[in-house]
């Protein structure tokens, strides 16, 4: 536990000393909207290894911006458990609304309200964000500052599962480090350092996850990969995470 905290502090220090503009985070969220009437198709496969077994989630995500400050999306996941047959996971419907924006030359500060509704279309595997088979409602705020010199993205929110003790308070923090000078048209390699904190308030169980990611973006196409592992876990040992691997791609229309 102590070693994990030291590692966390060391990583935060090394990251804060050199932060530059980056593309969209991988496991965290961002407050940047890409303009009215735009569409993004993306996928982010997660292969999660836990004490219970290995689960894979392959979502196809379609994001559409009807206006320059709003977004609606649908996520259709296929899920696999322990190398078994695939099935439809919990379908998600997402809405975002940018309610504050402050722009300066080559920098911007934005705040976005986020609502995510998870539908009980998947089986009850009791694995969060993979397949729960229950209605879930999430409300959060994403706050971010981005410039061509550095960028930070935060998300804070609460997820409610009715008639269930796994309601969760969530916090996500993401930093990006571009390895090339930001230019347009896009041609960029980014490193990402992302933290996810989940606190199940009713049963007082907590997990802090860290993801190390790399992203390659060229024009409208982005490829990304990340490796995530727990720094802190106080949840039941039988369901604890070991690690996750993420592989994703996105295309902007």
């Amino acid at each position: 536990m102590k070693n994990n905290i030291y590692m966390l502090v060391l990583l935060l220090c090394s990251v804060i000393t050199q932060l530059f503009a980056q593309g969209p985070p991988i496991t965290a969220d961002k407050p940047i909207m890409l303009g009215a009437k735009r569409m993004v198709i993306k996928t982010l496969t997660e292969v999660r290894t836990t004490e219970k077994g290995t689960y894979t989630r392959v979502p196809i995500m379609a994001h559409y911006l009807p206006t320059s400050n709003s977004l609606i999306a649908i996520h259709l996941p296929l899920v696999y458990a322990n190398g078994g047959n695939s099935s439809l996971g919990d379908v998600q419907v997402l809405g975002k609304y940018q309610f504050y924006r402050k722009d300066k030359t080559a920098k911007t500060f934005r705040m976005v309200l986020k609502a995510l509704e998870t539908l009980p279309t998947g089986g009850n595997w009791d694995v969060s964000d993979i397949s729960y088979g229950k209605f879930q409602s999430y409300l959060g705020v994403v706050v971010g500052y981005e410039s061509i010199k550095y960028g930070v993205s935060n998300e804070i929110g609460y997820n409610v599962i009715p008639d269930n003790e796994f309601d969760e308070f969530r916090y996500r923090l993401g930093f990006g480090l571009p390895l090339l000078k930001p230019i347009y048209p896009v041609k960029q390699i980014n490193l990402f350092f992302e933290y996810t904190s989940n606190w199940m308030t009713e049963i007082n169980q907590y997990e802090l996850l860290y993801a190390q990611g790399i992203q390659y973006a060229i024009k409208q196409l982005t490829f990304e990969a990340a490796y995530q592992w727990p720094l802190v876990q106080t949840i039941n040992e039988k369901v604890q995470r070991k690690h996750s691997v993420f592989l994703g791609t996105r295309y902007v229309f």
Binding site: A21, T105, T108, E146, Y184, P185, Q188, K219
Partner: protein, 203 residues
């Protein structure tokens, strides 16, 4: 036969030899904090017919592009396009094909300042009318931009609707001798206009 060939060659030369008249726009845009942001902005402008050579500089937030003159793109139209892409236009410059330079400093419209865009018909004739009409419109408190088109006789306005309204702006315009869609200037004021400015009042 020889004459036909000469005529055809002359016509072809006229058609293909004549170059399109081009206006060059330079717009300063705030909020471009990432390369993907610039992508969203470019895609918004790419759809416009007559546009070419779009360039975006992330470091200074400058958007440059060329636009066919005959389509008469105004700096207000560009401002609205940038805003619909989700960014903040700060300043716009255009060098027209006839070397005339127009500049406009845009005001921020988000936050608590409600800005309205609207148009009204204002009768007039010439460049002197244009200058006079725009000057009087801009003198009305709350009006941040006024652009009068000589051909269509439409005055495009951007104003703070908590400080003024279309009626007040029209009242100001008729005091200098130009009729609007809803108000008519008094004859004695109309008669003080320069000869070239005396538009047909029956229209």
């Amino acid at each position: 036969m020889k004459n036909s060939i000469i005529i055809i060659v002359t016509i072809l030369f006229t058609v293909f030899g004549a170059k399109a008249q081009i206006d060059h726009f330079t717009i300063q845009v705030d909020g471009l904090g990432c390369a993907f942001c610039a992508y969203g902005l470019e895609k918004k402008f790419e759809k416009m017919e007559g546009i070419s050579k779009i360039k975006i500089n992330l470091e200074n937030g400058i958007l440059d592009f060329d636009f066919v003159s005959e389509k008469s793109l105004s700096l207000i139209d560009v401002k609205l396009k940038v805003e619909s892409a989700g960014y903040t236009p700060i300043k716009g410059d255009v060098t027209r094909s006839n070397k005339e330079v127009e500049s406009l400093v845009y005001k921020e419209i988000f936050g608590t300042q409600p800005q309205i865009e609207n148009t009204i018909f204002v009768n007039g004739n010439c460049e002197m009318c244009k200058s006079r009409i725009e000057k009087i419109a801009l003198s009305v408190a709350g009006v941040s931009n006024a652009d009068w088109d000589m051909t269509t006789k439409i005055l495009k306005l951007v104003f703070d609707n908590t400080k003024t309204n279309l009626e007040s702006i029209e009242k100001a315009i008729v005091t200098i001798g130009h009729d609007t869609a809803n108000l008519k200037s008094i004859d004695s004021t109309y008669n003080t206009l320069h000869t070239c400015c005396k538009y047909d009042r029956t229209k």
